[in-house]
């Protein structure tokens, strides 16, 4: 028995009893942080929540009664790391990806109906306005289409030249993949821009949708004017359906942010933004994936297949595919 004059501090005994469990938890956390939770054997993993709760309980006791600052700081840091490990993202990358494709994306699309509708209307409106204006006077074409984007598709070209742009036989087949890649990254920038612009209260998103629609509308007017309507749509639709849907998704994502900022409803703007932002993030990832698919279609398929029936069939197939996917995938059975 100790002399009453110099007893051991209470927390020294407290620490001696529990130190082993803390160290066990710390070792486990080091493994998890370095290599992920799945590398731990099952028995060890089952102990993680137990050790985490033990450390939490130690922390509450220490906060109330411990005067050893080093110990208190250690416990705060240890429980914080353990909380991150226990409540961190548990699923593997493959599970996350599968969940996204099978349910996350189609659900997010269905939940953003009004915003997607507004984005789509802005795009179609831009298309319609430009088509009417250019059809009235072909010299207005340059108001809507950038020179470097036109690539020879302009009013000065002859009908034969225009037709050739729709059926060009690209000799540089090694460049096809690189071209698809470029198209993808270019469109992807537009998609990401549409998402980000949503933070600026929506008007820029609508303008972006509108102006993208206008570029397309001006070209449509040009090809219609030359009597190449069937050929033009056979060229644009196979990849364009996917691409335009993707751009609309990104625009809808931007409008979701706008919606949260302007009409936060019953939560604070910050919370509304956080909630809608996550929803929008899913849409943007979907848009990027679709743009990648469209880029592959455009770069590889379109320049090799010149039969118009096949082109229209492919376009119809993509339309059916996307409608079915966004309409029905990931619905909960009730």
């Amino acid at each position: 028995m100790r002399a009453p004059a110099d007893p051991e501090p209470w927390t020294t005994a407290f620490r001696r009893e529990r130190e082993a469990a803390w160290h066990e938890l710390e070792t486990m956390l080091r493994t998890i942080e370095r290599a992920g939770a799945r590398t731990l054997p099952e028995a060890a993993l089952a102990r993680l929540p137990v050790l985490y709760r033990a450390a939490l309980s130690s922390l509450t006791v220490a906060r109330a009664t411990c005067l050893d600052l080093a110990l208190l700081d250690y416990l705060e840091a240890l429980t914080a790391r353990a909380w991150l490990a226990v409540y961190g993202p548990q699923r593997s990358g493959r599970a996350v990806a599968w969940q996204f494709v099978a349910a996350g994306l189609p659900r997010a699309v269905r939940a953003a109906g009004p915003q997607l509708l507004v984005a789509a209307v802005a795009l179609l409106l831009g298309h319609g306005v430009a088509q009417v204006l250019v059809a009235g006077d072909l010299s207005r074409y340059w108001y809507f289409v950038d020179e470097h984007l036109a690539g020879g598709r302009d009013p000065t070209a002859t009908t034969a030249e225009l037709r050739a742009t729709l059926f060009d036989t690209d000799q540089h087949s090694s460049m096809l993949a690189a071209f698809a890649a470029f198209l993808f990254s270019n469109n992807a920038q537009v998609a990401l821009l549409a998402f980000g612009l949503g933070l600026l209260a929506g008007v820029p998103v609508l303008l972006l949708m509108f102006s993208n629609g206008m570029t397309l509308g001006a070209m449509t007017a040009l090809f219609h004017d030359r009597g190449l309507a069937v050929e033009w749509w056979s060229w644009i639709l196979p990849h364009g359906l996917t691409e335009i849907t993707a751009v609309v998704l990104a625009g809808g994502a931007g409008l979701l942010l706008t919606d949260a900022l302007l009409f936060p409803g019953r939560c604070a703007r910050l919370q509304a933004l956080a909630r809608r932002g996550r929803h929008a993030g899913t849409l943007v990832l979907g848009a990027l994936t679709m743009l990648f698919l469209a880029g592959v279609l455009e770069g590889v398929f379109r320049q090799r297949v010149h039969d118009q029936t096949v082109r229209y069939l492919v376009a119809a197939a993509t339309a059916v595919l996307w409608v079915a996917y966004f309409g029905f995938a990931g619905r909960r059975r009730s």
């Binding site: 920038q189 980000g196 929803h279 943007v284």
Partner: protein
């Protein structure tokens, strides 16, 4: 941690009902972590480029490839690591930073995606406008560059302008970046020379002597003892020991042959034991009594 106590903290309510305190990462730490990540990405691009250049296989195709691979790498790098490493990229891990969900829930994939996609809008696009406006919008270069500059500046300054150091991506995703340091458990100062002989030989202090100081002084003393081995630490130990002896009215002659460090250790042990006993009974004394002259 205690040295940075003035910093803003994020309180997370765990499902177990115990609130956890996280310290918000400073802007400097965020920038350093980001630079580490950018450097890693640059290295990953430079290595194949230099290899191709040395072998003479480099060509125009590599530029197209770089555009795509660069975009994919830049878009995937951050979400990939933040999902895999519980909210840390290699740069964040180096600086012991973590992304957490501000509502205390798990960090979801959607949040990680949203906060990283916003980076294109915050950084990449305005930088691209600034660097090569003619490629993106021919004919509008001058005013677009001003706009891009203002845009970039505004969004870069955003983390400095709010207490939680959130950038636009953190606003959009409802996330915060916090410090999650890996601290080592330092030895218990009250358990020195862990033998019963030493414990039995501890210097005795009277109750009155232990009533003089409070928690604040005890923790200053802890700091002094932990730094005793560092340069200049020994002098501090001697000075503090002298002061405490004076204060408690201990005759220096009764302690002849007792080194200052041992005196402080024993006093620390007795004082902590005394104050913790008080705490257990619900009494807390933060500082020494105000009425004391010194």
């Amino acid at each position: 941690m205690s040295a940075r106590a003035a910093n803003v903290e994020l309180r997370i309510d765990t499902p177990e009902g115990v609130p956890l305190q996280f310290e918000i990462a400073s802007v400097g730490e965020r920038v350093s972590a980001f630079l580490v990540d950018v450097l890693l990405l640059l290295l990953a691009w430079l290595l194949p480029t230099v290899t191709l250049w040395l072998t003479g296989a480099i060509g125009a195709w590599w530029i197209s490839c770089s555009v795509l691979l660069g975009f994919v790498a830049w878009t995937c790098y951050f979400p990939f690591f933040e999902l895999r490493w519980h909210g840390a990229t290699p740069g964040k891990r180096r600086l012991q930073l973590r992304v957490v969900s501000a509502d205390g829930g798990p960090l979801t994939a959607e949040a990680v995606l949203a906060r990283n996609f916003t980076r294109h809008f915050e950084l990449v696009l305005p930088l691209a406008f600034l660097a090569a406006p003619a490629h993106i919008a021919p004919g509008h270069a001058a005013w677009l560059q001003w706009l891009a500059g203002a845009w970039l500046l505004l969004l870069l300054l955003l983390p400095i302008c709010n207490r939680a150091r959130m950038r636009a991506g953190d606003f959009v995703a409802g996330t915060r970046v916090v410090l999650a340091p890996r601290l080592l458990l330092l030895p218990d100062l009250a358990r020195h020379r862990d033998s019963d002989a030493a414990a039995a030989a501890r210097l005795p202090f009277t109750r009155a002597q232990l009533e003089v100081y409070g928690i604040y002084e005890l923790q200053v003393l802890e700091e002094v003892l932990r730094r005793a081995g560092e340069p200049g630490g020994g002098d501090a130990v001697t000075a503090v020991a002298e002061r405490i002896k004076n204060k408690l009215g201990i005759d220096a002659r009764s302690l002849v042959g007792v080194p200052a460090i041992r005196f402080l250790h024993d006093f620390y042990t007795a004082q902590r034991s005394h104050l913790e006993q008080h705490l257990l009974l619900g009494r807390r004394r933060e500082r020494r009594r105000a009425a004391d002259p010194r």
